[in-house]
Amino acid sequence: MNQWLDERLHISRLNDKFLRKAFPVHHSFFLGEITLFSLIILIITGIVLALSYEPSNSLVVNSFDPGTADKPNMLPAAYHSVLKLNAMPFGDMLRRVHHWMANIMVAAAVIHMMRIYFTGAFKKPREINWWIGMLLLIFAALTAVTGYILPYDNYSYNTVKVVYGIAASIPWIGTWLAQAAFAGNFPGDGIIPRIYGYHIMLLPGILLALTGAHMLIMIKQKHTQPQYAKRIAYKKIVGVPLLTQQTPIMLMLTLLFAGIVLLFAAFIPVHPSEFFGPPSTTPINNIKPDWYLLWIFGALAIIPSFEFNIFGGIIGSEFTGAILLPTVVLGAMFAVPMLDRSKDNNYYAENPTNHPVRLAIGTAFMALLIVMSVAGYKPDLISANVLTTANANTVLWILIFVVPAVTYFATIGIVRGIRALREADERDSLAHSAAADD
């Protein structure tokens, strides 16, 4: 059969070119793969979910509790179909797997990016892939947000309201933009079909296209080589081939990891639509976005209120906190390959401790995002009496500046320490080997 296929599809050429691609042997190189597997599982579970989901927010009679003929119990069709989905065998489980997989995909992507950043793997010639990776991260977050609007329970309803508000807060074009994006004034009759289109067609399409580009470029440029490769065979690609060595490792990893997610899904409920109920005027207390957007939420919670009018456009705290600030943060991340470059092609992963400033900036940046996320818990901190309404903003603002600064200098200090130790070690071994030579 091999031959039959080969004569038609030239498998052997494919084999030489792609299937024998060398994979570096190091656990940190699995993070990208985990992201990819999550995407695949997300697409599969998503398709299955889509089979039972009804993308419409027009009202239908609740089949579980129809009410009376003159006062029927009406629910949005989307919400109703989620209730039905939950009642299906393993329906709730399917939703949970989809949810946890999305969280893990973003988490794996973020850690993958951290690996790239700290080892300098974004340097020439891999700048383009860093940028594509950034786009992937942004579109993954957008896909996730549109995803948690779809159940159209009260929680989703409040979420989409805020998202609409953020879009509408852009000066000059905001109102038009929000209406175009969400099918009219909130909550228009077509809002769920619109979001459904985004979530199952547009955004996954973009994600797949970007993923394809990301991987093709990676295959073309090869992985960065881990440090040991330099010692074994300088300027040679070291690693195990995709077929037949890497593939079983990948499969094992996928299965293991799918198993973990299934366990998660079995024991940790997510987004209990029944509990939140259909969209209503009652707000939900302590509504929060998923963890990867919490930092923006935190910024909004502590930004003071203000409003300027420039040439008829209104610049308010909402636009500043939810659009301007993330643009600056993401812009800084986009700029990384431009700020820290190398003249020649970079083949080997760099040891983070050899680049203390980059390392320290990275950790300080992470500390900043963490503090901002903590600020997202402001109402909870106040209810727990850790902070008071009066001092919460001040304390959080101070932390936002102090914690990253402390992290920065602490990292530099620790790196100095590590290097001093290492040098002492080297002197030591030099002295000893010199002694042994005598």
Binding site: K161, V162, G165, I166, Q179, T282, P283, L300, S305
Partner: protein
């Protein structure tokens, strides 16, 4: 020495391709903008989407009691959410919840506690006051503050308002106070006495003026 440089009368391949690509891109972008235009459906101001207008009766908005007329005796320092209920063209009762931003917050405080900048003429005896319940920040519904009696808190980004002082912002990101709605008492019922005094969420001042005109024109 003559150096003959070939003067090609026809355009070069590269020029042709560039021009062709340029044209394609322009046509593409123009048509995309056209498509985007249709993505934004027209807004039709129907009666159920109108903001509260004079003469509307206030009814409960909470799911359990939705549509029941609010009695003055029910009010307290605890927020009560209300919809304005008007009439449709045939004169039947119609709750204006087609626009969820129409939801209102009602309070009753002991006399003398409600002070400026609240518009006291727009309250009932300086005791009962009505506001838009939609946070001016990103449009969440505002609740009672569970920490401080008689204050309001927006659950979304912890905006805080003081309903005894015209719902001024006392904390968090909201840019403006909640808009106050003039009300009057009619027997045991509460009736809307006019338009919101300021522009409620999501309107800017000029949009709000335009909306008021549109409503007046349609009802006339």
């Amino acid at each position: 020495m003559t150096r003959y440089r070939k003067q090609d009368p026809e355009i070069t391949r590269r020029r042709f391709i560039n021009a062709a690509m340029g044209t394609t891109a322009t046509v593409g972008i123009v048509s995309l903008v056209g498509v985007l235009g249709t993505a934004n459906p027209v807004f039709r101001l129907t009666r159920d989407k109108m903001p509260p207008v004079e003469g509307d009766v206030l009814v409960h908005a909470s799911a359990s009691k939705e549509g029941e007329v609010i009695k003055v005796s029910e009010l307290s320092e605890q927020l009560i959410r209300a919809w304005p209920m008007g009439k449709d063209k045939e004169g039947n009762n119609l709750i204006r919840k087609g626009d969820p931003n129409n939801v209102l917050a009602l309070y009753r405080f002991p006399k003398g506690q409600i002070v400026a900048p609240t518009n006291l003429d727009a309250t009932v005896d300086g005791e009962i006051v009505a506001y838009s319940d939609i946070c001016t920040h990103a449009g969440c519904s505002v609740s009672d503050d569970d920490q401080q009696e008689g204050q309001m808190k927006c659950p979304c980004h912890s905006g805080q308002y003081d309903p005894k002082r015209g719902c001024v912002v006392v904390g968090g990101p909201p840019p403006r106070p909640l808009a106050q709605l003039p009300i009057k008492q009619d027997g045991d019922k509460l009736v809307v006495a006019g338009f919101f005094l300021e522009n409620p969420y999501p309107f800017t001042e000029s949009e709000w003026e335009a909306r008021k005109e549109a409503v007046k024109a349609q009802l006339a």
